[in-house]
Every structure is written in structure tokens, then in C-alpha cells.
């Protein structure tokens, strides 16, 4: 829903340890602007408040991040809150990030299980490989990387989020068996080659996911994959 945009300014009594969400909650209880105007409280998304669900992401003082872990003490005042710009706006600070979940469908971000019945344990793995996969597996689909990426806009580029998930599953011994399907998902016109190497994604990722490493590794994999496909012809 694209409606007219406007700013509202609120003043919140200071308490130590306040985060941006606590401020918004305060406004919700008493929705009166700084100039004394009664207004409707802004709407925003929130859930875990521990920076692990990813839902409360917004642009705070110009930087995309989760509002639950944005502590007032560490922010310049007045604090400026804006919705993410790369996703359709729902209302106020809420946006619709369903395109990120669609990416996961496109790159087959799962293991093709034979079935959920008991087949004993999975493959043995080296702890070092597990640690690398764990880093990718912490992605909470928050969208910070896509908001900050200069290439991600209007469907031109699938973006680092999905590419890192390709890495996560292609590194797994069972997942590697469907590697090609995943690579196909990132080799189209809007695929991995659209990365402009700005490296904004790694700088804003709240989970410190090595996104540029994933892009580098998957770029290599797609080149080899493309080459093999060409040789087979």
C-alpha cells in the first residue's frame, strides 16, 4: 500500500537500557506527539525481541538493523525510524518480505529427505565444516543484506540471502546430491553474476554471516557447473 508519507515526532521519558521497541511501546500507550497532538500509534512488527526472529528490522538513523537490539543509549538523538525501502510497505514501519521466502523455494533450500521415518543418524561431519555451515544457518531472513545491496532492486538480482542458503545446503553431504538444482536457481538473468561486489551485505548482516564468501564459493561452483554443462553438449 503506497500512501502519502509523513513524519511524526515523539518525546519519550528516558530510562536506562531502553531499546527502540520499548520506545514504540511507550508511544503506543500514550500516542501524543511532541507538539501535544493526539495521534494514532505507528504500527510495526516485533516478536522475539532477542534478535533471532528477524521480524522487527527497520532503518534506524539511516542504517538497516533490528529495532529490538537498537539501544537508545548508543543512538544519536533524535532517533529516526523508517521502514525498509526494498520491500512493499504494509503500513508505517511494516513491510512485506515474502519475496525472501520465495527465494528459498527457488533455490531448493532444503535437503531432499527420503522420508521422515527412522533411518538412523545422518552423515558424520567434521566439526570445522559444521561450524562453517552453522554460520550460514543462522540467517533469520531479516532482509538487512538486501536493503543494503545496491544491486538488489526490482527483481534484477536474487541477492546474498538466497546465495548463502545455496552454500549452506551444497556444503552438506546429502545436500550436495542436489547441488545442480540449486545452482540453476542462481544462474538466471537475475542470478549471482549481478553481484557488484559492493560488500555492503556483510557489513550490515546482524548475524555476521560470511555472505561475500558464500557468493565467491557459489560463483565458482556455477562457473564449473556451466562449463560442465557446456562440455556435455
Amino acid at each position: 500500500m503506497d500512501g502519502p508519507q509523513h513524519w511524526e515526532i515523539f518525546e519519550i521519558p528516558y530510562r536506562p537500557n531502553l531499546n527502540v521497541i520499548s520506545c514504540l511501546m511507550e508511544i503506543r500507550k500514550n500516542p501524543v506527539t511532541k507538539s501535544g497532538q493526539k495521534t494514532t500509534p505507528p504500527s510495526w512488527d516485533m516478536n522475539c525481541l532477542e534478535q533471532v526472529c528477524g521480524i522487527c528490522t527497520m532503518v534506524i538513523n539511516g542504517r538497516v538493523r533490528q529495532s529490538c537490539s537498537a539501544l537508545v543509549d548508543k543512538l544519536d538523538k533524535p532517533i529516526k525510524l523508517e521502514p525498509m525501502s526494498k520491500f512493499p510497505n504494509v503500513r508505517d514501519l511494516q513491510v512485506d518480505r515474502s519475496q525472501m521466502f520465495d527465494h528459498l523455494k527457488r533455490v531448493h533450500a532444503w535437503i531432499e529427505l527420503d522420508g521422515t521415518y527412522d533411518l538412523g543418524p545422518g552423515p558424520r561431519m567434521d566439526q570445522d565444516d559444521v561450524m562453517e555451515r552453522y554460520a550460514y544457518s543462522r540467517c533469520m531472513t531479516c532482509g538487512c543484506c538486501l536493503e543494503a545491496c545496491p544491486q538488489y532492486d526490482e527483481d534484477h538480482y536474487i541477492g546474498p540471502q538466497a546465495i548463502a542458503q545455496v552454500r549452506l545446503f551444497n556444503m552438506h553431504p546429502s545436500g550436495a546430491m542436489d547441488r545442480d538444482e540449486r545452482l540453476q536457481g542462481i544462474m538466471g538473468d537475475d542470478g549471482i553474476t549481478n553481484c557488484g561486489n559492493a560488500q555492503n551485505c556483510v557489513r550490515v548482516c546482524p548475524m555476521n554471516i560470511p555472505l561475500t564468501k558464500a557468493i565467491y564459493e557459489e560463483n565458482r561452483e556455477t562457473v564449473v557447473h556451466g562449463l560442465l554443462g557446456w562440455l556435455k553438449k
Binding site: M1, R15, N17, L18, N19, S22, M25, R28, K29, N30, P31, T40, P41, S43, W44, D45, M46, N47, C48, L49, E50, V52, C53, G54, I55, S69, L71, V90, R91, Q94, S98, F101, L104, K105, H108, A109, W110, I111, E112, L113, G115, D118, L119, G120, P121, G122, R124, M125, Q127, V130, R133, Y134, S137, R138, M140, T141, L168, F169, S174, G175
Partner: protein
Amino acid sequence: MAGGIKIAIVGGGLAGLAAAMKIAEAGHEVELFSVVPVKRSHSVCAQGGINGAVNTKGEGDSTWEHFDDTVYGGDFLANQPPAKAMCEMAPAIIYLFDRMGVPFSRTNEGLLDFRRFGGTKHHRTAFAGASTGQQLLYALDEQVRRFEVGGKVTKYEGWEMMSLVLDDHQVCRGLVAMNLRSLELKAFPADAVIIASGGPGLIFGKSTNSMVCTGSAVAACYQQGAKYANGEFIQVHPTSIPGEDKLRLMSESARGEGGRVWVPRNQGDKRSPASIPESERLYFLEEKYPAYGNLVPRDIATREIFQVCLQGLGVNGENQVYLDLTHIPAETLDKKLGAILEIYEMFVGDDPRHVPMRIFPGVHYSMGGLWVDFDQRTNIPGLLAAGECDYSIHGANRLGANSLVSCVYGGFVAAPAAIDWAKNVQRNGSNGSRLYEQETKRQQELNDKLIAQSGNENQYELHEEMGRTMTDNVTVVRYNDRLKQTDDKLLELSDRYDRISINDSNLWATMALPHARQLRNMLDLARVIALGALNRNESRGAHYKPDFPDRDDANWLKTTIAEYSGEGPVFSYDPVDISLIPPRKRDYSHEKKEPAAAGKSAS
């Protein structure tokens, strides 16, 4: 709805997704309702791990031992057959997640690693760093997405269940849900409904729960005739980080990996923790419970921490004690506990690798929930429940790392039971559409009334007052006079609720109307919790009354059942199935003594 079976699932956390995966795999259709995108469900907050007696550490662990720890830790209030069945399924559940690609931590040989948790002497907890819940939820989310692509699962994310659709014989025929953007109400016919909507932590205002954990869907079922069991059993986690907006969990795995709880021995000792010598520190859990030390069950650790602070021994005289990891090498901590240390650092500012954390108990989990039989079926035909929202496994106190396994177990049992029901139930035929129209209309009228009413009460203020009352009076220590006052307060809040106004001129995607509906439901469940506690004159697990300090099996080895009526909850009591292990007194100062029990094979 001609032809195939369609099952509706409410909630997309571990239990709901586990059920969805099983039903879709069996070839049936699933409609999955979730307030938030399912990948953002509260299961992501689980940190420490998932229990299963895989016994790869040469400790002689067994599923029976896990079962015994579970019912002993739960102070014998759990029906034993489902608890046993869960412990027996647990190793296969862990292996399944391993096959789905969960990055579980490994041993030198590349096997799954296990760590210790509370209430057991065995290394039984598989873990993925310190964000195990997140990792398990993602694995199920991935598998369910695979079935979504295959056309078996349809997700309704951003839809909240408002009520069940019941026919004239009280059989569940589907549900009514509200689109949280357009506020559209719509009826969804289904052959069976599985509630997997999680716990009700928000009733206590601030808790370790996520903001979606209102218990609202469960309360709606309760209002429509579903029995609610053991509501008074609320787990207060010993170690949380107090915050302005919520209490953030500090996982039990911190103690599982060697963390020690202490306060300065001398009241008012203002020195920095590092400069207080060992001899002047009071490791109160280790002193009082030499056998289990810092890994006593949560209800016990919570009461001890609470008590120490009441005696004025809290750090700086405040309600806080140290949880100390500083004696463990930073590298080990990063590997095993990284995610939770980051949370502490991010929200408190101190580095727990070098400065002891300051923690205090916080409301965490509801052992109580919808009453279900041993196949996860509620008393309403066609309605099932799984996960934290059902009461079945944990008795009077849940052991750490048993929640993830119980959620998946519940989903895995509910799925075939729902299919079984759906295969045999007679469809409601031409009469059907009337039911759905009536229920949708009833819900629309409730919404319209709320939107139209005006008054000077603020619903968020009412929520805060409810949370404060419940936290002050219905958590760690309970007194009958204060429980009675709590109920009076809840009645007062219910009265004031009729004078709230929605205060939002723009109803598109408003937070106000859904919250108002949730608040009404939370007030009803709060009464079930408070009055259940008032009635139960004994102390058992998480329910502790100084005026009745002992467990009273003669009178209270019973499941509390609450049923809705317009005048408030009506209570009755059911016997507990103790057919496998005879109840014995809990004592964590000594090694656990197991009696020879029926069903245990000699080894």
C-alpha cells in the same frame, strides 16, 4: 472439500511444522495458520538443546533413565505413558534432524556431541551452538516449504485464529481466522484442527516469551468447551536477563557447560566480582545440592535464587545473582555458547567471557495447557493439540531441553491421530455452510463491537497491570490471600476492558484490534492460572506455597481440569497415570535413587 483429507494447523513453531510435515508426507492436505511468518515463530528462542538418550558417551544412559529423570523432575504430576513414549522416540527425532542438515555440534569422530542439562547426570542434550531452537525450526521450515512447493501445504501467514467452528454435536469442523492486515474474517472448513500455538507467557507481561505467545488461540478453544489442564504450573526460568521490554533468556546450557551461580557471602559487598576471593563467594546451589549443584531442576534453582535475593544477598542488594563463566576458556565458550553470550553482550554491554553475568528468574514456560489424551486429542472431537499449548508431558516442572523434543513428539503423534479421525469422520454435508456463516458472523460482531465502543481505558495499560499482578502473585512463591486478590484484580480488569477504545482511525494492519482480542482471551486464561493455584494447597514442582510447603500425594496427586463457564472457570480433578514408576520424594542433594520399577528390563 470433496475427496481428500484437509487438516488445519494453528501455529507454525516446532509442533505445528512437525505435524504439517507428517500429514503432507502421508499425502494429505494441510492449511497452516500463523500470526507471523512461520520461520519467525517463538521456537527460534530455544537455545540450549534437545534431549535424547543416545548414549554415545559411555555413561550407560537409556531412554528409561531419560523417562525417570523427566517424571522425577516433574514431581510425578505427568501421566507416565506419554512421557515414556516421548523419551523412546527422542533419539530417532534427533537423528531425523541430523539428516535434515541441522548443524549439530560434533565430536572428534564426527558424531553428534551431547552436553549436560539440568535434572540429569547424563550428557543427553544434542545442540547446535547455543541456538538449537532456531536451527531445528529452520530444518522443519525447510521441509514444510518443500511440501508447499509440492502443493500439499498452504500457508496462511499473517492470519490469526479467532475461534473454532463447532457443529451441533460439539464436533470441530474447522476454524475462523482473521487476516491481520485487512481484518477480514474467514471460515476455513477442515476435517480436523491441530492447535500448536505455543505458550501464554504474555499473560505475565514481561517473560522470556516472544510477543506472539499470548495463548489467545488456546483460550478461544477453552471458551468453546476445550478442557484446560494444570494451568497453575508455570515455569519460571532461573536465569534471565531483566529488560525494559522483555526478560531475555540466558540458557541453562551456560550451567551445563560449567557455569556457576553465586553471590558475595557478605551482604553489601561492593567489590567487583573478580576481586572477591573464592572463600568469600557463596555458591549456594553447589553447597545445598552437592549431587546436582548448578544443574538442579529449574523450579529449585529459581526458588533458591529468589530466596537469596529476598535475604538481601543479591548482588548490590538488588534482585540479581552472578552466573559465572569466566573460569572457562573464552575459545571454548565461543564454540559452545557463542549465540547466548552475544545476546548478553548486545543487551547488557558486559562481556560474559570476562565479567560474570547478572541474572534473575523470569517466566518462561507453561507446563499446563489444553487437556489431551495419549494421542494428543482434546475433549472436543476433531480438535487436537501439540507442543507447549498442551499439558501432557512435563508434569509440575519441565526439565531443560525437554521442550524441543516434546514439541516434535506432540506434532508427530497428533498428525496420524488427526488423519485417523479425518478418515473416519462423517462430513457435515449440505448443513455445513450454515455453521461457517454463523461463526464468522459471531466473530464479526465481536470485532464490530470493539471498534465501535469508546472509553478512557488504554488496553496496553490493562495488559501491563495484568502482567504485574500475575508476576507479583502467581509465580515463584504463592500465598492464598494474594491469589484471591489477583483474581479480584483480574475481574476488575475484565470490567475495565469494556471501556477500552481501539484508538486507530486507520484499521488497515492495525495492531490495536488483534491485541484487544488477545487481551480478552488472556484475561480468561489468567483466571484459570490464578484460581488453579489458589485451589491447590500443596507445593509441587513449580507451584510453591510456603503455607503448604510439602507435596501432598494423598490429596493432590491429581491433574487440574478447568472448564469455561460464564461465571468463571469450573474446576475438577483427574487421577494421574502413575502405572510405570511409583512416586517418590524428590531430593537433589543426593544421587537419584531409583526403585526397581515395573517395565524396566534388568541390565
